[in-house]
Every structure is written in structure tokens, then in C-alpha cells.
């Protein structure tokens, strides 16, 4: 079951999760074909699949794998709209790494 876990991260956590599957929420800041950038406590490059539809300025949740250059290959994206509270979400990310037992199994 552990393989089904996708820890919640922001750009600050990517180092610790290379080659792992994660979920990250950020605001879309750049969009060029299948190459996108989101702001999640810093810019993160997202390599999109053909099925992903992102909107500039919207929050998006990306589930994907962290590459060695700290870009993320997206498996799945969900548009969270333009009314997503990023501050509250950052608190959740923080909490999820403190109260790990509820969120993921550290390796």
C-alpha cells in the first residue's frame, strides 16, 4: 500500500522526494504546450501529459513523479480554480510532515 501514497509537498520539499510520487498544489505561472511552471513556495517546472488542461492563474494539483532536476512529470492534474486558499494549504503540507502517521510512511 505504501506505493499508493503521494506525500503533499511544495518546492521546498522536492529535494527529499526525488524519484518519488508526490502531490503538489501551486498557481500556474507559465504555460507552453506540455511545459508549465507553478508557484508553490517557489517555481516548479511541470512536464504535462497530453490530457492535462491547465489555466493560467488557477491553482492546480499535480500528482506526479519528482525528476532528478526537481521538475515533476505529471500523471494527473486537477484544476482547483481561482479561489483556492494557498495559505491554508501550506499549513496542511506543513502538518502532513509533522503528523506523518496520518499521511505517509517515511522511507
Amino acid at each position: 500500500m505504501a506505493s499508493a501514497e503521494t506525500p503533499r509537498v511544495t518546492s521546498r520539499y522536492l529535494d527529499a522526494f526525488t524519484s518519488k510520487n508526490v502531490r503538489i498544489v501551486g498557481t500556474v505561472t507559465k504555460l507552453m504546450g506540455t511545459d508549465a511552471h507553478i508557484d508553490s513556495e517557489g517555481q516548479v517546472r511541470i512536464l504535462l501529459g497530453p490530457d492535462s488542461h491547465l489555466t493560467m492563474g488557477h491553482a492546480v494539483e499535480v500528482i506526479g513523479k519528482v525528476n532528478h532536476d526537481l521538475s515533476i512529470k505529471a500523471f494527473r492534474t486537477t484544476d482547483f480554480g481561482d479561489r483556492f486558499d494557498m495559505g491554508a494549504h501550506l499549513k496542511l503540507v506543513e502538518a502532513s510532515h509533522v503528523v506523518k502517521e496520518l499521511f505517509y510512511t517515511p522511507v
Binding site: M1, R76, H89, K91, L92, A95, S96, V99, E101, L102
Partner: protein
Amino acid sequence: MANYGYGGGYTNTSHAGAEGGGFMGGSQTGSQDTPNGQRTYGKDTVRPVTIKQALAATFAHPTAEAKIDGADVTSLSLVGLITKVSAQATNTTFSLDDGTGTIDAKQWVDSDAGQENAKSMPTDGDYVHVWGTLKDFNGKRHIGVRTIRLIGKDFNEITHHMLEATAIHLQFTRGAPPTSGGAVEGGLFVGQTNGDAVTNGGPKPLPAHLSKEQRAIYKVLQEAPQGNEGLHVNRIAQTLGIPSNAVFGAGDLLLQEGMIYTTIDDETWAVLEY
């Protein structure tokens, strides 16, 4: 859910049973036993959980109710991204993923419902909020769905749910946060909302890292009628109904932090008032 009922217990012994508040229905003195004594209404609360918690829940025996953090969970709620939908003759199974694990949620088909209902079903890629009961069938966990609702507009619901699950887990494992006493009448921390100075009088909030036992020990020491010499460890153990060595273990940190001190011997403690 609003009244965690913790703060009042420090100074007023008549509130002694209030610790733990609404979630721990089983331990409340006011639990409403039905004549056969098996069920209490207090337990029938909906507990928000992460999927990882649902997968880690324990069943005493196959037909028993699930336990999470040692508390019975009759109903639970969770949020998740649907990764698969499989419609069968009798039920629809949604595979849910909330980032902490994956679990199936089964909704029985209501044969009386019209066909238009089936069309408005959430599909692959949707986020949903699910309420139901945790089932263990041949060792495989699933959720028996009572209600499933699409999260379509306001995705803050996901953030809120996960944070609420975390807060409640922490309540069960570490006790209620001291600052949540605001709901208690004459609350000790009212000053935080209306700006009055409250530094005089009321007890200081306990440090957040204390365990439930440590809070309980501190409270017993604070409330028990005692002379200058404090209370013996065995008395504390007796009052709380836990083994003496557990009191020793938990008390160590309180001693280290200088919150309590030893009096006539190493096994007799009193609260260090400051």
C-alpha cells in the same frame, strides 16, 4: 464539535468529567446507554479521517466496529480523488485516492431511483467527499457509502477535511489543546479574542508536546487536595487508573521541564506554581 470542554477542568472540580469533550463519547459520564448496554449515542459521531487512518484501523473481530486511535468509529468521512469507477448490478465501486492511500467505496444501487440519478454520478478524476462506515470483508477494507458528494467548486474542502482529521487525531493522542477552552463559559482564554489582559490568574496553557497522560497527571496534582508535600505516585496512578510505572514514565518529562518537583522523596510530586 465546538465544545472541547477542556479549560474549565483546571480550577473547578465539577468539570472533572469534561476533559476529552464530545469525541470520546464512550468515556463520558453522561453516555446514554440503551437498555442492552451495548451502544451509546455519543459514539455515533462522524469522524473525519485520512485513507491511511482507515487502512490502519483495527477490528477486534470481523463484526466489531472499527477503532482508530483507540476510539470506536461508527461513521467516518473522507475525501478523495476518484481513480476508477466500476458499476456493477448491485453496487458502484469508487476507488479513492487522497494521497495517503487508496480505498474502495461501495455504494449500493437504489433500484427505485430513476436513471437520471445514475447519470449525475461522480466519475474518474473527480474529487468527492464520502460519508459512510468502514467495513472489513475478507481482510480487504472498503467504505460502505451512505452519502457521496462531488467537490466541484470549492477545493478548500479538501484542505479543511485533512486538517480537521489531523486536529482530531491529535486530540485523541495528545489531549485537547489548552487554548480551545474558549467554548467553556467563563473561559480562561477569553482575553485572546477581546483583547483583555489575562496573564493574571488563569493557569498557563500547557506546552503542546505533552501527552494525554502527562496532562492528566498535571491536572490531578493541581486539583487534588494536598498539603505542601504533594501526592505520591501511587496515589496519582490510583486516581487515573493507570499503572504506577506509566505515571513514572510520563512524570519524568514534567520533572525535567520543571513543571512539577519532588517533595519528601523522589516518588512524591507537587506542582511548581509559577
